[in-house]
Amino acid sequence: MTEQPMVRFDKVSKRYGSLTVLDGLDLDIGRGEKVSIIGPSGSGKTTVLRMLMTLETINDGVIWVEGEPLTHMQKNGKLVPADTAHIRRIRSKIGMVFQSFNLFPHMTAMANCIEAPVTVLGMKRADAEARAAELLEMVGLGQKKGHYPSQLSGGQQQRVAIARALAMRPKIMLFDEVTSALDPELVGEVLEVIRRLGREHDLTMLMVTHQMGFAKEFSDRVCFFHQGKICEQGPPNELFGAPKNERTRQFLHAVLEAG
């Protein structure tokens, strides 16, 4: 018997009206595994993360996190829609970093990082601040604790956002095109932080990215999405080195040509 996956998508579908964004997705992600999702825009890759973060409802199927359903509860052996308490309990295992940072603009970097630990986890303010200071130090922003988001560069804001998510001690981190909104010269500093996270922490990481080089170097597995399905997946060497699927080849060719 294999180890229970950290996350399991079990025949998950997502539709907007008549448009099917995800079509019966099956995907297991192991504990500590680093998985990159690539694919053309509109292929449903961001939706995968958003569903796992409960930002989108799902139409069919079940998402399991450490063996427990995310948006369902087991009642008399049946799965019924979960209540808020259940969703919040499971959701606490997951953190997310967004393309557009989404820092709270009226709060300093420090305040952004302690808001949830204090109000959700009930941490003492001093403890939360000590922990946030460590995290801001780790992302290289120890000197910027008192700065507001508008006083920080895009790369710095995104690093604060990573620290803010980590402050909740998630087991799973989701990265949704976290470098897409950045000027090219700021991409490196953010990727370096993610690289360090991968090395030093036992986090399960799932990222949607257009940085093929980074996906290749960082991931344990790469999934190529096309039209709401996983078209091909495998270790980065195989998927980038010798893609089996014609669509994958076309996509990689187009992206690598351009970039």
Binding site: R91, S92, F104, H106, E115, A116, V120, Y148, A165, M168
Partner: protein, 219 residues
């Protein structure tokens, strides 16, 4: 000469006492309007199922004259066993009436908060209460302070309606002085001047608050 300075000075203390009632009614009414309006706007988002009922209620309040609502609270509610004194009925009517307008102002403020702020709050597992209290409201309110301020001034200028249910505010007091002395020029003019002065002062105060908020929020 039509204007009698001695008479004007003589009635000034009486009018000043009435002015206190006017200001009390304004401030209490506005506290109700600002808080109830916020509660309505939050309920609209937090309890989507109640949205329809809330819309009907807000539309009902906005589409009927304030004077009728004042009369309703003062003269009709006693039939249902709810007896309010004139001041309470007047203040509640004004407060609820302007709450309907204020709720729309807050709603505009909420609509302007980017979706990412809500999503980040979910991703951080914040409760609905914390999301409103710490994330949404602090960002939504500063931009709508001018609009709320306009409603404060508008509400203030409608307090003379309370004279219709004999609240001894400025207008009612001026009317009583007029009917007792048959001199209306001085009391009515003085009341008008008072409203003018207070409106100008309020407008200045609001501008001050606005600047203060801007300095605190826009960095």
């Amino acid at each position: 000469m039509i204007w009698d300075w001695a008479f004007a000075l003589e009635i000034l203390p009486t009018l000043a006492r009435a002015a206190v009632v006017t200001i009390q009614a304004t401030l209490l009414g506005f506290v109700i309007a600002a808080l109830l309006g916020l509660a309505i706007a939050v309920a609209r988002i937090a309890v989507p199922r109640a949205g329809w009922a809330i819309s009907v209620l807000v539309e009902l309040i906005r589409s009927t004259p304030l004077l009728i609502q004042i009369f309703f609270l003062y003269f009709v509610l006693p039939n249902f066993g709810i007896v309010l004194d004139a001041f309470a009925a007047g203040v509640i009517a004004i407060g609820v009436h302007y709450a309907a307008y204020c709720s729309e102002v807050y709603r505009a403020g909420f609509d302007n908060i980017p979706r990412g702020q809500w999503e980040a709050s979910i991703a951080l597992n914040l409760s609905a209460w914390t999301t409103f209290k710490d994330i949404i409201i602090p960002q939504a309110i500063p931009p709508v302070v001018p609009a709320l301020g306009n409603y404060l001034v508008a509400l203030f200028k409608e307090t003379p309606l309370l004279s219709a249910i004999a609240v001894l505010e400025l207008m009612q007091t001026a009317k009583i002085i007029g009917s007792e002395t048959f001199r209306y020029t001085e009391p009515i003019t003085l009341v008008g001047l008072f409203f003018l002065a207070m409106s100008l002062v309020s407008a200045m105060l609001i501008r001050g608050v606005e600047e203060l908020l801007n300095r605190r929020t826009i960095r």
